[in-house]
Symmetry: D2
Subunit: 297 residues, 4 copies
């Protein structure tokens, strides 16, 4: 065998005919979609990429896209769409939970409840849109809680942190199985919906969420939950890196600080939608109802 190396170690960083051909295919299509977008302001569901629709196509208006003051539309295939309700747990929006103990305003984190209820009600009324709930929490022995997380929560909670029971509380903060850890009744999952338990702010790294989304053929995500700047943003960022087309419903999310909530919304819109798009529950519900011929009540 000839072991004389005639070339330096192969690095996929070469600009040549073959690579150009593949790249140019993509750029030609992007050019076409760009021109199309300039006319229609719509991100059409890309059947060329994913195949023919599995469900019903519908368009949702998104705001400040591509620039502030503009509006655009994102087209969904209901059969490839999943709705995410992130961490709507008592610990984050209910009395005596994790966030309450830290002294934050539950009015802010509970504000998304009614909008999310409205969306769930619509989705559950005969659509094929998948629903996925997440819960952040730790094993009862805290073996999956990074120590710095436990310590910081103890400090900010004035001695009551992860694993402790607040005075008058329902159970140990942020611990799986405790009443305060579970999803609030108004948004409780129903059979057929998915629940992802996660020990961190993100959800893609250490759960079967990627498997489920992949097997279900999901391409587009509609994101709600709490808190806007922590778990919601982290999950949206992960999903976006995975290539999902993500849309946040801004009234379906809230943060522990109103300024951070506003910034979280704004940050998504930068760069023409660096993490995806922003819409609201009304626009989404109207679009779904129309597609599925539901009465607009």
């Amino acid at each position: 065998m000839n072991t004389k190396k005639a070339h330096p170690p192969f690095q996929p960083i070469s600009n040549n005919d073959f690579t150009s051909a593949l790249r140019d295919q993509i750029l030609i299509r992007v050019e076409r979609d760009y021109e199309e977008f300039n006319k229609t302001h719509t991100f059409n569901f890309p059947t060329w990429l994913y195949g023919p629709p599995k469900g019903k196509l519908f368009k949702v208006e998104v705001e400040d896209c591509p620039r502030f003051g503009d509006k655009a539309f994102v087209e969904f295939d209901s059969g490839r769409t999943a709705f995410l309700s992130i961490d709507m747990q008592i610990d984050f929006c209910g009395p005596k939970g994790y966030v309450d103990v830290m002294g934050y305003d539950l009015g802010l984190t509970s504000a998304p409840i009614k909008p999310i209820m409205s969306v769930l009600h619509t989705i559950r009324n005969g659509t094929d849109i998948k629903v996925i709930h997440t819960r952040e929490g730790h094993l009862p022995d805290l073996s999956d809680a990074p120590y710095n997380k436990v310590l910081r929560s103890k400090i900010i909670g004035n001695g009551v942190g992860i694993g402790n029971i607040p005075k008058g509380g329902l159970g140990r903060l942020l611990v799986r199985g405790e009443k305060n850890w579970d999803i609030i009744d108004d948004l409780y999952p129903i059979p057929g919906e998915y629940v992802i338990d996660k020990a961190g702010k993100g959800a893609f790294g250490h759960s079967n969420l990627p498997s489920i989304l992949n097997n279900l053929g999901i391409t587009h995500l509609v994101i709600t939950g709490i808190t806007s700047d922590v778990c919601v943003h982290t999950v949206m960022r992960e999903a976006n890196d995975y290539g999902y087309w993500c849309t946040l419903l801004k009234d379906g999310t809230g943060a522990t600080d109103y300024g951070n909530y506003q910034a979280a919304i704004k940050q998504i819109k930068m760069q023409g939608g660096v993490f995806g798009w922003v819409s609201d529950s009304h626009k989404f519900v109207v679009a779904v109802k129309s597609a599925f011929k539901m009465g607009l009540t």
Copy 2:
């Protein structure tokens, strides 16, 4: 074999003696560290968790911790600390790059350059602190670029997006191997430093960064780079979920919008430091120089 099941499927959600014992061990220690923190306002390097220091211990002041107006200290083991310089590429802070083409103010994203230079200079002057650089970019044939990412960049760039060459530009935007994709000269890696190439905003999912950090025994990260609200935040969130003790140097980072920059800083400080802590290059450099007995110039 007895196949009669005497119990429901085992769920690790049981509050019983053994689990309590493990949990209580952690809570007892947290209680002790909490009381210690109230006296010293210091997050000591936890030798009980990681072992004796490998390098030199030094403390860095962090701001607004646990609450706005407070200050605290984080103690580092230089032998277990890595400094991250995230995406200091021409594409993000130089003329005719990705961010410039979108019309953003390069003054904002280039502001961190001098502070990062200062920190690198200090670290490189005989310390054992590891240095890791990241670069965001795509393979020349764009096979690792999600289509929605390419399309959105095309739109916001007025027809010049990922893979295109801006007029008067150095090369194809955000493509590996192109001049604009590489790290700016002032912050260029030197031998012995690590470079992680990533196709997304995050870095932990699809690179060998976790392996390297793990093998090097890193526990604490010092984070700088651009942009504050996009890649820096995404990497910090990932690292925090992995249990790393993360500190952002706020003058070592910048965003495409000043309000978003400020919000990105503030978001870290919520909940007593939900993603870690915030300090600045001066405080960090002074602490390192003192530990390594360098002159304070």
Copy 3:
């Protein structure tokens, strides 16, 4: 800013003074451990790497290491060791389960039961060795089951595959929540032990197993379960890639084919232990009992 690039894109593939220093540190230590090994035939628990022992140190004899016919010892720190019992489910070793329906000999996959019982009994008798059980199975709606997996099981099961109920069976094959999916009674987890549910043959990719192992500071794994060549090997390979020191207890595992079982054992031993080491339940139990001063009954 100076954008003139004086060097090609930084690639961490350079052989220079600084990199050599880091590499040589490792090679010097390896040289020393190599010479030590030649004298003692022992892989000492590396306190230089992980810190002082958290529990008790004990040595277990491993076979055919480094070469066939040799024997060696692996030293464990009980406080950093986890025992894995992989997929000891009715579906894999009990009547009318997944493996039985395929027509394989349950005698082979049930052979490990008594040895695993013996090890669990010893570990549960006052040691600090962690115990982790895994279960392979799919969500009841099969949304996390790759289609080719479901189809192949249907074919080999003569019409009865994943999700179907065999005649006289306990429930739907390989579906979470079904009696046949759960761990057999003799090896059922007790409180304080961990249970990892996985949808595939591997366990590290889509579960919180890495988080738990990391937070618990585990370095060494003792592996048993079924089947040797499928899930046991896949998990061992993953763990080995993560840097865990893995030892398979050969009588604590079985396969659907005896030749494959033997090959699975042999494959581990190649290259001086490419995936780790091989020992047996007796050697392990004797070593643990001795370390914890238990009677040798």
Copy 4:
């Protein structure tokens, strides 16, 4: 808000109408494909799952499927197929490399070279089948090499392990950038092909391989390389868990021990093809040539 919990924590382990509906959809289809398979012995490319073919459909004969003595066919969409050449590096099949130093027979690991050349030649002759090469190796400073891996290689190599230069060797064993680490000339990647560098036996965990496969819409993998029982099997297992339809070309792979090679082939065939299927380079080449109307020379 009503915080009274009317139900225990939601666990997706419920057998009810809605879940049944989703599951039954899958089982109905599997029933149909099962009956179809009984007639045609073909695993048709599932357009219902992935969409219409992007390239050309072609069938490849696979052996011992579903049972030993049977034969079947797997249908590929060339536009969604990737060919993997795993670790065909001098270190594994050339003189003075990693495997040679351990004393193994290079005849076994170099046997796949000609078959792989034949397949590459065919694929490169105008097809749209993607080609992906992998290389196992470590950073020059060994920071991504688990210590036990370095130590074991030192021992089995009689003092010459990872990072060392064998007498008369080309460079440091298994180190990126060294001549011995690179792919042999006969199988060297050409522009347009992908190269994945990995530090372990597996490839999916810490590289951008998942991103690339996902973005390229790959569904079916054709696997070759070395060694059969180590990296090839590990990658095939990972891919299979991800849902890829995997076929190993048995003459395109080799191991350090012939018995282990045979067992590696056999292990894939168990359970109707637990990790996928087995074919050979001739069958594959004939099928591709026929589909692309190439002369059968």
